[in-house]
């Protein structure tokens, strides 16, 4: 009887909470400057109630020590207090230790206004050092929050005050830059409203923060990977799949293919180091069962601010039944692109606008790149609704191109596969007509909202996706490596690297959906510095899955602690050659990376660029921020294993 009462009460609270939420977001939209503090506080209180009611547990378990997941409240103003604490996080039926910002996972949304000065007091209530890094923000180097590069970190019991001018707008986030704290829940969204009106319109907005959670400690995860690189991969090729492949492709072709991978000591199923075996994928702090829900009125335009705050997970995001119009990438306005699906590298953000017209629920489906799980939420006209959850796709396979190998001298027997080789894509060179057509489609895609670009794609020779290179892979370029192929800590080298900006990424090919490509990203307005880079620095992304060593140019950070130097004011090109078989989200602190994707003067600028296996990708950086800056792969354990550098801009 008591439980029933609690249940009813909690339902009522949920409804109230969602109502208050929508009220807040509507208020903000119409009058974003003047959210009264009281309304916010009310909102927080209601949301706390909402969140705790979600737990659906006996009243005695609703103690203060248990977290309140899934809140969508915001802090703003010139002075903001944040407290880092240790708490218990409850997820479905399990509870585990977590580290939180202001007591929730994710932490509170911080909402600022471009042009303001902000002061943040961050108090550490943990037993260990902590830090907060403002991801994607342009600020003084001492405010960047990277222990060992910007400052000493925040000691237990201490308060560190961040103070910086807000010089940009868009969707960002902030997170701990200390050890594995990010994986334990220390991340939160940051929204900066622009001074100028937004170049697109919407009636409602939500932050959709994707993340990953494990009940194993981050030390355990890292240690397991160091001892057995494939520890978390339970989607390897086993006997059953071998037999299926034999039936489809014939015995000899299959054996040759399996032997080839074995011969190279590589695993073609290696898409995620940490998988759904131990991770639960969260949307705004809620598990798929928790079903985070954002409400809308049919016909409204809803802006969704997607942030990938996961430590180790790439997401493929779609909302079946809705077309998403990408209007911002990494907080920067881009020419709107309508897509059905987009891939989010770790730490990227994408803002999309959807127009749910029907009076029904829509599932926000964020499937992991390795297909071992998903995060899920719902857009619904009323609380408590849900829509069908799409079936998970089968996990993709790496191909010879991902290995950076020329297709020459290799007998491609797989053409016999009538189904286009989804199961054995390595037998399909990606220059096949289907993919080429796809990228052509994308370049001629209609840009809605009336912001038609006045330029063509592929303005630079050699950027053309269809360009026939020296090997049979279109665009492939032979790569030179050091005499020892980057030393013992690097497993393989890409003999051929290529421009893969026009590819959707492994696992998204040939689906028939319109998938966002890096070549689709074109800034809305040209950025001021249009200089051709004066010099180029080539960095190879290197590593060894067997030992779980990750590095740049074959050297871990501890082996190459000297900074990479930029001259203040120079325009420099960073060229990444990915010698590994994994995607790496490369993050530069303090300065924008202008992605050289062939968009001419409309190069988009990003704080994270995903470099695909065997890809050669370059970004132009205007070195306008003196000081030392962290530069690293944003996969938490790749960074911690040594894929990290300091870039120093010297005046």
């Amino acid at each position: 009887m008591k439980r029933l009462l609690v249940h009813i009460l909690s339902r009522a609270c949920s409804a109230l909470g969602v109502y208050v939420l929508s009220l807040i977001s509507r208020t903000r939209q119409t009058n974003s400057d003047s959210i009264s503090r009281r309304l916010l506080l009310n909102g927080i209180a209601a949301l706390a109630l909402l969140a705790s009611s979600e737990l659906l547990v006996p009243a005695y378990a609703l103690a203060n020590t248990t977290l309140n997941p899934g809140s969508q409240t915001a802090l703003s103003g010139d002075v903001i207090d944040l407290t880092i604490g240790e708490q218990l996080f409850r997820l479905d039926d399990r509870t585990g230790p977590a580290m939180t910002i202001n007591g929730t996972i994710p932490g509170p949304i911080i909402r600022l206004k471009e042009g303001q000065q902000v002061t943040m007091h961050v108090t550490n209530r943990l037993k260990e050092d902590t830090s907060i890094h403002w991801h994607g923000l342009l600020l003084p180097p001492v405010m960047d929050g990277v222990p060992g590069v910007s400052f000493a970190g925040i000691k237990p019991g201490a308060t560190f005050t961040y103070h910086f001018p807000v010089k940009q707008s868009g969707t960002y986030w902030f997170h701990s830059h200390s050890g594995g704290q990010e994986l334990l829940g220390m991340y939160a969204p940051m929204i900066i409203d622009p001074i100028e009106p937004e170049p697109f319109r919407y009636e409602r907005e939500y932050v959709v923060m994707l993340s990953d959670w494990s009940f194993e400690s981050s030390e355990t995860l890292f240690s397991n990977l160091k001892k057995q690189g494939g520890y978390y991969n339970f989607q390897k090729r086993a006997a059953g799949e071998f037999l299926t492949d034999v039936r489809r492709m014939g015995l000899w072709t299959t054996i040759k293919n399996y032997l080839m991978w074995d011969q190279m000591r590589m695993d073609p199923t290696d898409f995620a180091d940490v998988t759904g075996y131990t991770l639960t994928y969260l949307m705004n702090g809620l598990s798929p069962a928790g079903n985070w829900t954002g409400l809308f009125r049919p016909g409204e335009r809803v802006r969704l601010r997607f942030i990938n705050a996961a430590s180790m997970t790439f997401y493929d995001v779609r909302i079946p039944g809705l077309t998403m119009t990408v209007v911002q990438a990494d907080g920067q306005n881009v020419q709107p692109v309508a897509v059905d699906e987009f891939r989010m590298g770790v730490a990227e953000t994408y803002d999309v606008i959807v127009e749910p017209a029907e009076d029904r629920a829509y599932t926000i489906f964020a499937e992991t790149m390795d297909r071992s799980g998903y995060a899920r939420g719902t857009l619904a006209p009323r609380p408590g609704m849900s829509a069908e959850i799409p079936a998970r796709r089968s996990r993709p396979l790496r191909t010879m191109e991902d290995m950076g190998m020329s297709m020459e001298g290799m007998d491609m027997g797989g053409r016999t596969d009538p189904h286009g080789g989804m199961a054995m894509p390595e037998l399909e060179p990606s220059g096949d007509t289907q993919k080429m057509k796809l990228s052509d489609d994308n370049s001629h895609r209609e840009h809605d909202h009336g912001v038609q670009p006045e330029h063509g794609l592929h303005t630079k020779p050699g950027m053309n996706v269809g360009n026939q290179g020296r090997s049979k892979i279109p665009g492939a370029e032979p790569v030179k490596h050091g005499p020892d192929d980057h030393g013992p800590g690097n497993q393989m080298v890409a003999e051929y690297s290529r421009n893969r900006l026009g590819e959707p990424g492994r696992g998204l090919e040939g689906s028939g959906r319109r998938v966002l490509l890096y070549t689709d990203l074109k800034s809305l307005v040209p950025y001021p510095d249009q200089r051709e880079p004066e010099r180029e620095i080539e960095l190879h992304l290197t590593g060894s899955m067997n030992r779980y060593i990750w590095s740049f140019n074959g050297k871990k950070y501890s082996e190459a602690p000297d900074p990479i130097r930029f001259r203040y004011g120079e325009r420099v090109r960073l060229t990444f050659v990915n010698d590994t078989m994994m995607e790496h989200p490369i993050h530069l602190h303090g300065m924008w990376m202008h992605l050289e994707n062939g968009a001419g003067e409309y190069l988009p600028r990003k704080h994270v660029v995903v470099v695909k296996p065997a890809e050669r990708l370059s970004v132009a950086v205007t070195a306008d921020a003196p000081g030392p800056w962290a530069f690293h792969c944003h996969l938490l354990f790749h960074m911690d294993a040594g894929m990290f550098r300091v870039i120093e801009v010297l005046e």
């Binding site: 390897k236 086993a238 630079k460 030179k480 180029e536 082996e559 911690d640 294993a641 300091v646």
Partner: protein, 316 residues
């Protein structure tokens, strides 16, 4: 019982000697290496990031091949001076890429039921190894224990403590001492050996372990082992195992003839309840040859055996 105690005492004495020898030779080198803030590998030519890029800068490849690539690296050189970036000593490192870990793999820990006849015995066998260290430099330890195999009539226990250096992307080069104890004509015999080994992953994903041994009297022997995992499902895994021993000199006390000593094939079907814990059943075909077979027979052993095994593979 008495015999066991004595052998244990002798064993531990040799072990202590081995540890001492280790510390005097490789141990110190390792300590020195570990004490340096940035490890300089004599195996790899030392290059800074900038020289690396200079080298790559000559490659005219890339989607937007740079005309300025000649200038790559020159800036750092002309600058010449040390960087301004001097993090104070009390700042932590931004990443933990030098952590040391301890790993122990008990690959074989099994019960071998008697196979019938008066000669068979219920007995046990183990084969374990592990390391302590970072990514490149490790202290390795290995131990094998066997009883009533085609190679060893009664029991045989050995222990190795090695310094290992990671090289050539897949291999650990190992060097250090080994002690071996077994029974011979009813008494315990122990010897010390020096070991040079290479262990790693060879093409086609075979785990490979090879060792060259020189004992205290100069007798040379060698061991070679391959294992490979075949995935029947994600958790049901068949490990195939091949091992062989060979010797240059005859060492009768250790039932070792000159030439090929033995060949062993095994198949162990394990189920990984967790990656770290997998019980298994298996079969082992073991046979010794030539002089070795004769010695084993003289000791009352069976130089040709087919044994069923029941065990657990575990690591931590």
């Amino acid at each position: 019982m008495m015999r066991g105690t004595i052998s244990l005492a002798r064993f531990s004495a040799s072990f202590c000697a081995a540890v001492l020898a280790f510390l005097l030779s490789d141990g110190i080198a390792l300590t020195i290496v570990a004490a340096q803030p940035s490890i300089d590998f004599p195996m790899t030519p030392k290059k800074s990031t900038v020289t690396d890029t200079a080298q790559h800068g000559k490659v005219p490849a890339g989607p937007t091949a740079s005309k300025a690539s000649v200038a790559v690296g020159s800036f750092a050189k002309q600058e010449g001076t040390r960087s301004k970036f001097f993090p104070p000593g009390d700042w932590p490192a931004p990443v933990n890429d030098q952590e040391h870990r301890l790993f122990t793999l008990i690959d074989v820990l099994e019960y071998r039921p008697r196979t019938g006849g008066s000669q068979g015995h219920d007995d046990y066998r183990w084969d374990l190894e592990g390391w302590y260290g970072g990514d490149y430099n490790r202290v390795w330890f290995k131990s094998e224990g066997q009883k009533d195999t085609a190679f060893k009539a009664d029991y045989d226990v050995d222990f190795q403590l090695l310094y290992g250096r990671f090289m050539q992307k897949y291999y650990d080069f190992q060097i250090g001492p080994r002690v071996e104890t077994q029974t011979f004509r009813g008494r315990n015999v122990t010897r010390g050996l020096g070991v040079i080994g290479i262990e790693g992953l060879v093409p086609y994903n075979y785990e490979f372990e090879s060792s060259l041994f020189v004992d205290q009297n100069g007798a040379v022997s060698a061991r070679l082992a391959f294992t490979k995992d075949l995935l029947l499902t994600q958790r049901l895994i068949l490990q195939t195992r091949f091992e062989t021993n060979a010797a240059v000199q005859r060492v009768e006390e250790f039932t070792t003839g000159s030439g090929l000593n033995n060949l062993e094939f095994g198949g162990r079907l394990r189920y990984e309840f967790r990656r770290e814990f997998a019980p298994y059943v298996g079969i082992s075909l073991d046979r010794s040859f030539g002089e070795t077979a004769t010695f084993v027979r003289q000791e009352g052993g069976n130089p040709s055996q087919i044994r069923f095994v029941l065990g657990v593979r575990t690591w931590f």
